[in-house]
Symmetry: D2
Subunit: 371 residues, 4 copies
């Protein structure tokens, strides 16, 4: 069986999540390749070594370029701060390596565009970490839509809200920087836009309204020095889809009580689907004829769930969605499966977010492909 | 105690709901006036007499003008089809009578404007049947907002969806006529717009998208002859409020599984409120500090609830909201209380709906007072 | 159409609820008799007169025996404190009048037994106010069970809990008296037992455990003088039904957060039903094949609901269940319909509660008909 | 850092779950010992080797006694069919090894008793896989109870129901055998009893009713030959706790719609807690003063959750509870932490289940320590 060497850059929470996911994918799935944890890179060499040892990586590097150049590395996984996605991915693509990059793809649409072009030119597999789409309940939702169980889709109403910035004394961070893909839309909303595209399809026109509610925040935790804030605390938008469906999306990081509220309702001529990621193992559906909502609970009839449990109702967690994402990526690298979000699709999400920002700024409907 | 003579026009479902509400208001509340069911009118004289007898009205009229002219009638309640609201209300106002009109106020903004001017000139009490606002949980929501429990309001996201037109073979009816205030926005959405205004305040700008999904429907039940449909099956809109809050509203009568889904979430800098009218005795709230949602259940600490039950959790139904609406109206007629939706406020709802239709048609943001 | 004269004893909350119900039944239903509010009795003559006038009764009496003797009175409705049910009902039966008595039927099983015998001897219609059974969703549940939709019923798990006595400083009241049918089992649990019998059938054996948690309470509100408490604050019991089903019931008035939590789950070989009275317009059901729960929402396919609203999701309230109870009673008086709880059935509930108390006291299984 | 060699017996679903859990515990936690996957045993030698390689174990054995004798093995983890728990655990204890055994501890109370005595004599750490207790929300529940947030606990009402045997054509399996700890009570109910003991404390008396609904099942899938069934399909019981609390437990594997419905409500004099394992990241709580239920969502203020995610609402899955169980076990082996279910506690659960069976058979209250 062919070996597949994984090179992981970054040792923060997402770095560890990747390490867990690659390890678990090997245990849980019968994979067509022999996944090897080849190398781990972190600017802090000592930390790189410690984590490599704890997480089972063969090599540790203090310099990410060395990791990319490492001949044992076939796939470069990038979990560093957003502004480093571009140089790292471009270098990996230049070296002909496959790339698995955390979202967002980049911190500007120009970067994202260059990255998808480079990926296309390199002809390698790329993936971006829109892991929520790998939830078996989301896969089920897509299958139901594709099978026509909802009829013609006419509406998508989505929201991704949390409350981690609700406290006005929450300090400035890179998430507040335009140049780091900050703001509620980029940070949270992009997941929702990716979901809308995955489930309903391309979006052609948008109109939007966005707002900075807290115009300044402490420069650092507890500081009395205030720093002005320019990015959006909340966004509301109207969407038109290629297939004729219409919809709304909202995103806020000020909405008290919500922790992971990526929710949507999809309405079709024959049924309605509802999902709330705070209960990620459930899906509510009303089919024509039933006249009422059913609560579907994840179970082993869904392959992604069956990999983890033979019994329904035992529930998957966030980290298992990451394992499912990694499995799809490995299958794609083995020439099987093509459901994941590649650089092309991730660029389309960035372009859509850019169109929404433009629509909000110019207070008008914007055609997405005019961006 | 002063007598207050009620004259009711219409004997359909809403007519009977008014009869129940006036009767129950007398039993349930200690009212400052002596409510008398003075007269009932229906074009079908025999029916008028039968219902008057069953419902306890002293007089029956086949001609509504006679009812208006009846000196025993102090308040004219109008529950006839929408296009008759205008002539009846105008006649009642001309006669100096107070008017209680079912929603919508009128079938055109011009009519509505004339009616509010006539009401102002007549100097009488007017009310329009936006009864959902009289739900004690909605009154509580407003009190919480006014008391600042949610901090500064930053977002209102609302929806009113049902599914009674979801079946494409549901035939044409007056609800499909522009000239009868038909369409999802006018029929359902107007309740939501009134709610947004009641809870958050005036709306200054709107942008919207609306759609006719089923472009034709059978001309009558079971008919093979199709009739073209011009009104909206669903509408999505963005709102800007005078106080700086932003929001979305959606309305559809095609959304399978929903029967009375007037729902909203109101987000403030200090808390979040959520309501779904399919569970009208509940309110979910997250206050700063609590970090999670509480489910409030209607109980006798709310005066509107206490009138009906001394114990929490026993629940009010739709008809009791109507009784509460009638009580507020009677209090207003007795010179007490001023919370209800009068012709001025109802006109503002109609103007807002008109602005939304204009925004959808012209594909642009519309300033509400340019309408 | 034959006249039916109603004589109502009692002007408290339940008295007013009866007045509302009789009034509304006349307006809402096409009844086969002409319901007349003939007389109202209250020991406080002035209050009797005031309420009679406000609620529309033709006569007022200070002495309830006069009301019973009143030839205009065909049906005697009793809403007085529990210990008065017996003398009033016995007098009414002796006068050959139909009787509508609030629950519990009596304050001892001996009284209840005498009452059902007297009712049988008098040959008149009797009803006891187990109004929760008239909820259209409960009627639907019974229809589903009778139609075999759940298969053979194997389990009933029920609870009726509230929290109105949870505060240990809540003072002594008649509800704490054995001789007034006090305690969580008699006050709340009897509704649940009646529901179990209505839905699943007769109960043959019981075993139980009961507890007085707060052994003394203030003699009156705010008093520092304590009064010993002997009745049960909570009860748990096992049940065996004639048809082979088994189950549990629990009742508590100390359970914080619950206001009207009469809930149950009924499990059959082909399906499961779940109900919670804090959402009385809903029923959750899982049928074989569906593999998941559906949320049914009350709507006009249910006759009891259709009487009040032509549209689903508009919800009935507590008082409307009372109106439905009154309608069934009137139909029974007109020789139609026989679904209500008569003195015989109410006695069976009292006997069951007595068996549960015996089982708890003697710490053993008790055969219900040994009581 | 001291090495800790893990020897795992069994390669089925639970074997793999253990492998995942040991691997993930190493990655997720900073452990005080160096966990080594030393050896894996399966009667099928080839399978043992294949799984050892895929899951990262250093050695593979076809004979479990060899694994126990392996000097690299410090801890023996047993995931084989129930009847093998006894011989394997006894051999491991005889060899002075720590033991981690899946539930149930044994297939008879005699075995369980011998095992806890052997464990006590050996003086080693033992654990039994009641992993649901390691759910951070359950740990939180216990902390709230211990901190007195609910006041004095007065009631525990629990249920563990699923529907995997609901279909009468589901064939006979070892789960239907008394001698394999089969039946709804042993298979499901034991988790619930362990939970009741963990949260509320020891149980002194029980009374119960149990039932075999489907008296025969196909001998094998699709077979027309029927095999008689003796074990319980459903059980209902009353409980009395040492601390004075009372309660009910129910367990069924016939209850349609439920997949993992281990649910309970705990009522105290100052509050109520409610949990349903089909939503294992949530806890509902009503505290005195709040007067309504709050929905708590798992987040990083809980250490067990924080290990997996820095953000609330991202949810843990079943497999992560297993990782938390393994972590506690490793901490105990390192001389830290003592929260887990050891052989002593697991024997107490078996004794309790035995008392419940006796109470059901003899139709009387049984004192648990008379068993």
């Amino acid at each position: 069986m062919r070996a597949l060497g994984i090179g992981l850059i970054g040792t923060g929470f997402m770095g560890r999540a990747h390490a867990l996911a690659f390890n678990n994918a090997r245990t849980v799935f019968e994979l067509p390749v022999n996944v090897q944890l080849a190398a781990l890179a972190d600017a802090d060499t000592e930390r790189a070594q410690r984590c490599a040892s704890a997480w089972g990586f063969a090599q540790a590097h203090g310099d990410w370029q060395q990791l990319i150049d490492d001949p044992q590395v076939d796939l470069v996984a990038i979990t560093t701060p957003n502004h480093l996605h571009y140089p790292m991915a471009m270098a990996a693509l230049a070296a002909g390596k496959a790339v698995y990059c955390e979202k967002p793809l980049a911190v500007s649409l120009e970067q994202a565009d260059a990255m998808r072009r480079a990926a296309r030119a390199a002809g390698v597999v790329t993936r971006v970490g829109y892991n929520y789409q790998h939830n078996p309940m989301i896969v089920l939702a897509r299958q139901m839509i594709e099978a026509g169980e909802l009829g013609q889709i006419i509406s998508f109403q989505g929201e991704f809200s949390e409350d981690f910035m609700a406290d006005p004394t929450s300090p400035w961070s890179w998430r507040c920087e335009v140049g780091h893909a900050g703001g509620a839309l980029a940070d949270l909303g992009s997941h929702l836009l990716a979901m809308a595209r995955y489930l309903v399809g391309d979006i052609t026109h948008v109109c939007a309204d966005s707002q900075t509610v807290h115009a300044q925040r402490p420069a650092s935790p507890g500081s009395s020095q205030m720093r002005p804030i320019e990015i959006d605390d909340q966004v509301h938008a109207l969407l038109r889809f290629t297939n004729g469906a219409r919809g709304t999306v909202s995103s806020s990081w000020l909405k008290r009580g919500y922790k992971n509220h990526l929710s949507f309702e999809i309405s079709g001529t024959r049924g309605t689907l509802a999902f709330d990621q705070e209960r990620l193992n459930e899906l509510r559906v009303c089919r024509a004829g039933a006249d009422s909502f059913q609560r579907l609970l994840a179970g082993p009839t869904l392959p992604g769930y069956a990999a983890f449990s033979p019994a329904a109702g035992h529930q998957l967690g966030y980290n298992e969605l990451k394992t499912l994402e990694v499995q799809e990526l490995i299958m794609a690298l083995a020439g099987q499966g093509a459901e994941g979000t590649d650089f092309e699709a991730a660029w389309a999400v960035e372009r859509l977010a850019t169109a929404i920002r433009m629509a909000a700024r110019e207070e008008r409907w914007v055609k997405v492909n005019e961006v």
